[in-house]
Symmetry: C2
């Protein structure tokens, strides 16, 4: 079975780095991940350059990358202004992101949940006119740093509004890494009951060590689309102690070990993780940057007896 | 549903610390975990004090702890000599540990797999005479640092021999953290088919981020007994890049979030993890030592808008 992985390191991964990251690093990161097998990227964000100065190079990253038609580039588009900027670039998919909770919506998008939904009506119209694909993304789908656990019904209500507006794909963001297998199961069942033709993508963080348990749950539910970031970089600015997205290395390693096909080359992902760690000047949380893949062996010769 | 957790930090956790740990720290660690709800410990190891000098205080730890009858203490017993020393103490359960692979058996126990099984015949006889419980433990049940993935049939064969010798409980050790959900599923099905009345305990490491996915798999298979170490300390000396056991904080947090009962107080586990981190002078890998439990909230007031 093929599992689709969207590489989100250039956007979600690098957005919250302590120091701004040079455009060249963003471009090289994407190029290395293309060589490692990535075919779909969340590459940048067309937010206001005044609000998020480090995403001011959005158009430049896309131009320099010059990815070609077999690579699908997604960019975050918060409103019509962002969509108009995105329309001037080679980005094929616009990620219309908002929050499932009022507090996170106020903190992250400076508007209410309903206002956020309303903002996307003209964006969808422009996407249609420009021949672009629009994908909805819902932050705090499972938990909110200000409100606690997000009720399933609340996320489902927002998903219904987005679907009614015209979206056919929804990224469920476990922004602060609080989703659990049972919550994912309930959420997916509820969404399939209420909005059966909405295609679901799981965007998971490993903050509490649950990301691969949640991927396992998703796969058992038939979900074949996931997001990850090489090195495990990224994280919500409002999530205390948050670690990053589930790492591409760990996700690919797990999926391959379980017999799934991803199109990624694990060794090349690990090499890119090491390169990125060096470029950012810090160790990154991906496990496969420390431990070798399952099945790796060391020679027995010369081993000192441990216990005797 | 109740899930039993054996706290292994005093033995498996501390055995491979870079620096030897004072007896008083081992005893205080156990006392703090008793206060946090632990009722069964892997407390120490009666290996040869010459081979493993840092376990020379085995009897002293048990005497100082003076745990009382409602706490079950386990100690590792590699052979009859170890069992004779254990018999002089208040330890109620003897853990007869060996390896599922020849190479790991040579490296860890300096004997073949069959020799290791044979060593336990007199140990079982002594346990019976002394009124002690004997539990088998099989390192490298899922993977071996020298041989790669352990075939399911190989672990099953050793389990059959241990069962035939008289053991009714088996700890399956994922010594180097390579077990996957599908491998655990195959292993448990095969063991239940071949040795149906052998009670299984899962001893998992989080080396590749899979420990909680494996716990989830175990629970779905009806396995209710697990081992963990507070802080996530521990690890096999032959496992390159190995991180420790699944941490008690992360395991208890996950189980409580999913509605299982453990008898542990999560906050007290986390406090003990912080105390242990300070005592060992280094950060420990448990996620709940960095991230707050699911449902924790922060005030929205004063948050700077992130995206706008």
């Amino acid at each position: 079975m093929h599992i689709e992985i969207t590489e989100v390191s250039p956007r979600d991964g690098l957005q919250n780095e302590p120091q701004p990251v040079a455009t060249e690093i963003k471009v090289e990161l994407a190029k290395r991940m293309i060589a490692a097998g990535a075919r779909r990227f969340e590459i940048t964000s067309f937010v206001s350059p005044r609000a998020v100065p480090r995403m001011a190079d959005a158009a430049e990253v896309i131009a320099q990358l010059d990815a070609g038609p077999d690579i699908t580039l997604q960019a975050l588009v918060p409103n019509l202004r962002g969509a108009e900027r995105a329309a001037q670039t080679a980005v094929q998919e616009w990620v219309c992101f908002m929050s499932a909770t009022e507090s996170h919506s106020q903190a992250n998008s400076n508007c209410s949940v309903d206002e956020a939904v309303a903002r996307f009506e003209p964006v969808l119209a422009l996407a249609k006119a420009e021949g672009k694909r629009a994908v909805a993304a819902l932050a705090a789908s499972f938990g909110c740093p200000f409100e606690g656990v997000t009720p399933v019904g609340q996320t489902v209500q927002v998903a219904k509004k987005l679907h009614a507006l015209g979206f056919s794909e929804l990224k469920l963001g476990d922004t602060i890494g609080t989703a659990t297998p049972s919550q994912i199961t309930q959420m997916v069942h509820a969404l399939r009951a209420e909005v059966p033709d909405l295609d679901l993508i799981l965007h998971l963080h490993d903050t509490r060590g649950l990301s691969l348990a949640n991927v396992l749950t998703g796969i058992n539910l038939g979900i074949t689309r996931y997001e990850s970031s090489v090195g495990g970089i990224g994280g919500c600015p409002f999530a205390p102690g948050a670690t990053g997205n589930v790492s591409t290395e760990d996700l690919v390693h797990f999926l391959h070990a379980e017999g799934y096909e991803t199109g990624f080359d694990l060794d090349a992902c690990i090499d890119t993780g090491h390169w990125l760690s060096k470029a950012l000047g810090r160790p990154l949380p991906a496990r496969l940057l420390k431990a070798p893949p399952i099945g790796t062996t060391i020679p027995l010769d010369g081993i000192t007896r441990a216990v005797g």
